[in-house]
């Protein structure tokens, strides 16, 4: 279906194609707006690459199919939007607990409850704090263009495999449904996966493999948690990603991701043109959060402005990072509304006055 290497596709399709090019050969999904073009795309694309597409009877089934496919040695993908991701949390906790890889796309929509199908970033806490029951973290990547949806899907496939951990691709309705030109990376010939720990049948007298999160023996779960926590600590130091725009000398630093970051970036450009020392730090990994980079900039930037489409979720991570060394303000929208550029520009002027 995709022949040209530079194509006009939605962020959703870009994430799907990125996953394919990153080696994904197993996709399990369920319809929910605004991510329906992902299962639709995969239903055509997977057969082309010799992969498997299956529309499950529920979000629970879709994530459980991922559980099984990952246990058998694949790096599967599933996708959904906010209410569907809540349903998947059971399986995500099991994936984390069993140390299984999967790429999970959440095209965020407004909530709580059924909410609406428009743009929101209200799942930040859910995404960055594990989301399901128990102590665990998912790697969370937050693209802000269709190109980045593709690139971070490729990366997400490899990080999931590398860390044996679920990777969340966190976008929003606008990033997901908007079409932009995307330069596609080459299609890897091989599916990722097939590790030596997978369930393959215990052939040749090798010791059996059993994949489980249940730890019933005394102290077994303590030791298992210690192992997981050590992994999360390594992930937290090795997998921090962010983009800094005009940040080094910024007296006012904006912090934003996804759709909010597109607007924040334009506001920074406009403010610079007016001679203001304003910059942007755009977290690309939301977990691990680029706390170190923000803390470092807090010396120069005595003020920070978080732009996000929630009641104020990421702003808490920014406040934790600066630890009182900068004034942190919030410009936010919620309930499906998107911040307006003039409002961000006005707030910048007010904060610098």
């Amino acid at each position: 279906m995709v022949t040209a290497e530079r194509v006009l596709i939605t962020g959703n399709e870009a994430a799907a194609e990125g996953a394919v090019r990153g080696g994904c050969r197993f996709y399990f999904g369920y319809p929910i707006t605004p991510q329906n073009d992902v299962p639709e795309y995969m239903s055509r694309r997977m057969p082309e690459v010799g992969g498997t597409f299956l529309q499950a009877e529920s979000e629970l089934a879709a994530i459980s199919l991922c559980h099984g496919a990952a246990a058998a040695g694949a790096v599967p993908m599933t996708s959904s939007s906010s209410p569907g991701i809540s349903l998947k949390q059971e399986g995500i906790s099991y994936l984390a607990g069993c140390e299984l890889p999967a790429l999970i796309l959440n095209v965020q929509r407004g909530g709580p409850g059924l909410g609406d199908v428009r743009c929101a970033q209200g799942d930040y806490w859910q995404a960055t704090r594990g989301g399901g029951h128990g102590d665990y973290f998912c790697l969370v990547l937050a693209p802000y263009t269709a190109q980045e949806c593709c690139d971070l899907a490729v990366l997400g496939m490899h990080l999931a495999e590398k860390w044996r951990n679920p990777v969340l691709l966190l976008t929003d309705q606008q990033v997901g449904q908007m079409m932009e030109p995307v330069t596609l990376p080459p299609l890897g010939p091989e599916a990722v996966g097939d590790p030596d720990w997978a369930l393959t049948g215990a052939a040749g007298g090798r010791p059996r493999h059993f994949i489980h999160s249940y730890c019933g023996r005394p102290n077994e779960l303590v030791e298992w948690n210690e192992k997981l926590i050590a992994k999360y600590q390594r992930m937290a130091t090795e997998e921090v990603r962010y983009e800094a725009v005009e940040a080094d000398d910024a007296e006012l630093l904006l912090v934003a991701y996804g759709t909010s970051a597109r607007l924040a970036k334009a506001a920074v450009t406009a403010a610079r043109a007016r001679g203001h020392k304003v910059g942007l730090l755009r977290p690309i990994s939301l977990w691990p959060f680029p706390s170190g980079a923000i803390a470092e900039l807090a010396g120069t930037a005595r003020k920070m402005l978080v732009v996000e489409m929630s009641w104020g979720q990421m702003v808490e991570d920014v406040r934790l990072a600066v630890n009182g060394r900068a004034d942190v303000e919030l410009l936010n929208t919620f309930g499906g509304a998107v911040p307006r550029l003039p409002d961000i520009e006005a707030r910048i002027e007010a904060m610098l006055a």
Binding site: F26, F28, T52, L54, A56, E57, S58, L60, A61, S64, L65, C66, H67, G68, A69, A70, A71, A72, G73, A74, P76, E90, G91, Y94, C98, L199, T200, G201, A202, A203, G204, R208, H209, F210, I211, H212, S213, Y214, G216
Partner: protein
């Protein structure tokens, strides 16, 4: 109940690990495990089989069966099995599930996996209660049966009659093989093993979905001495859950 003509089959199947199980005295799980282990040995399946352990009494079945196994969230067991089977279609994949897992929280999964005709085999242990959590009412609990959540017995009105899963799945087109057996005597245990073998063969031939339901004793929560459980199954369970082949479209599926 005793069959003097039967020879004692000495020893332990290699695929059944030499460890004591956590099952209560008189429980049927150990017997069902052994049947699987015997088939794995006799068919030399160890390198070609992957099993699913459920949430419930059999949660650590992977500590007893010396084969590749996976855990699942409660009720999702058959879909996790399908995920494995889709990646490894050449392996024999079975899910081992209790009645809470399969017939309550996982009803959605079992219906859709069966309806799609996924070529996996389900071994369904029906002991008419939730064993591990303390003997609560299961979907399979008999009307009038006392459990820890039906202290006066299950009421038809309000709690409904026992759910008969084989009969529920039977009309589905791509369900190829359904048999219900019971662990009441050496003869019945042999028939149970034969049923599992037939179900495995259906899978190996790629014909579609297969399931063996096993009426299995739970003396602890039935509050019966183990030796009275067989009679209880025959007298009380089989009128509701008749044993035998419920559905077999093997020849049609092969054609």
């Amino acid at each position: 109940m005793t069959d003097t003509k039967l020879k004692f089959k000495a020893g332990r199947p290699t695929s059944l690990l030499p460890v004591p199980t956590h099952y209560c005295p008189g429980c049927g799980h150990g017997v069902a495990h052994r049947l699987i282990a015997e088939i794995v040995d006799e068919w030399d399946l160890r390198g070609n089989v992957i099993g699913m352990a459920p949430v419930g009494c059999a949660v650590i079945a992977y500590n007893y069966l010396d084969i590749d196994m996976c855990e699942a969230a409660h009720g999702r067991t058959p879909e996790v099995a399908v995920g494995i089977k889709r990646v490894r279609p050449d392996k024999l994949v079975f899910s081992y599930q209790g009645d809470g897992d399969l017939a309550a929280i996982g009803t959605n999964e079992i219906i859709h996996v069966a309806n799609r005709g996924e070529p996996i085999t389900v071994i369904f242990i029906n002991n008419t209660c939730y064993g591990m959590t303390g003997g609560q009412m299961a979907p399979t609990t008999l009307v009038g049966q006392r459990t820890s959540t039906t202290p006066k017995g299950r009421h038809l009105i309000g709690e409904g009659p026992p759910l008969r899963v084989c009969e529920l799945l039977s009309p589905l087109e791509r369900v190829v093989y359904l048999e219900r057996r019971m662990l009441t005597s050496p003869k019945e245990i042999r028939l149970t093993k034969k049923a599992i073998e037939r179900a495995f063969r259906v899978q190996q031939q790629g014909l579609g979905f297969s399931m063996v339901e096993i009426l299995s004793p739970c003396p602890t929560h039935w509050r019966l001495p183990p030796e009275q459980c067989a009679a209880y199954i025959e007298d009380r369970l089989t009128p509701v859950f008749p044993v035998g082949v419920i559905k077999d479209t093997t020849s049609a599926a092969r054609a």
